[in-house]
Amino acid sequence: MEVYRPLVVEHGRIVVHTDDPIFLNVLLVLCRTLKKELFACHAYFKEDDVESLVSEYSADLLLTRLMSTGMERALKLKKESIPDGEGCLYVFTSGTTGEAKIARHHWHKIALSADFVGERLRGKRWLLCYSPTSYAGLQVFFSAYQNAGTIYYPLGGYEQTAYDLSKYEIQIISATPTYWRLLMASWPSDLPHPRLVQATLGGEIVTQDILDAIRGFFKPEKLTQIYASTEAGTAIVVSDDRAGFPLGYLEDQGRVPLRIVNNMLEIKAHAGMEGYLNRESSVTSDGWVRSGDAVEIRDDRVYFLGRQDGMINVGGLKVLPEEVETALTALEEIRDARVFAKKSPLVGAVVVAEVVMEPQIPFDEPGLKAKLKKRLPEYKIPRMIMPVEKIEIFEHGKKRRF
């Protein structure tokens, strides 16, 4: 860590683009200690996106370390460094128009959730399976760090991770329901199931079947669902082995205030972001964050139904249908496209598309996918593309999204 200190000390606004979680962790700790501004880019960002970010926000240092391509560089971008202030962490999140929103977080608020600090969690060994630059990944990192824990990242496949879990005696796993499902599906038949201190899930809707499966497989002392967002911070923590959350949370004074407006969950944020860097905040003037997540009340419980804006959640990664449609219709052989979610038992949902080809152009699915790969990260590419005569449009002029 100390090797990077002189480099970080000299700069004020740092952009990091890496697929190496340990490198990211080093920078997180250094920038927090030295009160710097840090942009934590997702590993799947394209080089061009990172460069335009650097120039748009006048960063003075760009650090790239991509294990996948072997690229490593430290670019000093300005003669004069940006002076120190309070510092902050910029977290990227999906926007409704396709462009990533950049949320500004105070360093001291990023891991405030009291549910993740305490004697029970002290000095434990954690496996962090979220994307390290996601809000969830950042929160888990700081929680483990503050609890003097050791963090492991799964870098191999699921089966390798299963062996590593046993070898390193991992005690806490934080992952999306998708990750849990695939880990259990890849578990080697001759390998005993470890008993966990804590199993946590978040980033996608948590259903009863996945809770039951984890309970039976890993027998965790505590099985916890976390509902958090980049905008609102950690809002709901449930550990009663049931999907959804208790209706009583809506009136509980001791918790983060929640309310339901037009079937949508709103959160009064206390540990959320300060605001967006590149657009107006979605927070109301009195501090309520509109989550965009539709909910329903059944008996004594509130259940999540999905997104109101049609956002597709692919194993915890968010995809906007409009963005993929734009990429498809930008191809000259495609006249029109409709992108929607197909429910998947493995990853929650996958992106699929219907396309109307230009006349006389033969439909070539692998060819279309190969072209999309140049424009979109893997998880946004429709897994199945179907040729159709025309795209169905609703009366109100919107494309059908299911």
Binding site: V314, P345, L346, V350, R383, M384
Partner: protein, 79 residues
Amino acid sequence: MNDPTTSLVIDIIRDVIKQNNLPEPELKPETVILTETPLDSLALAEVVVRLETKTGKDPFAQGFINFRTIGELAKLYCQ
């Protein structure tokens, strides 16, 4: 000889491998999908979506059922 459902699963896996320009391994009923084929979670999800489209069956309608091998996946579509 494989039964028709297993053959269908193998055909679809082969298609998805080809579409994604991945190396093709030997595919047998006892092949463990996520470790002995180059399919990642998204590609496996694609296989399942294609299977549902082809067979009209959704064995996961009531929730996730664990499967590891090609044979175990095929069995879910036989009922």
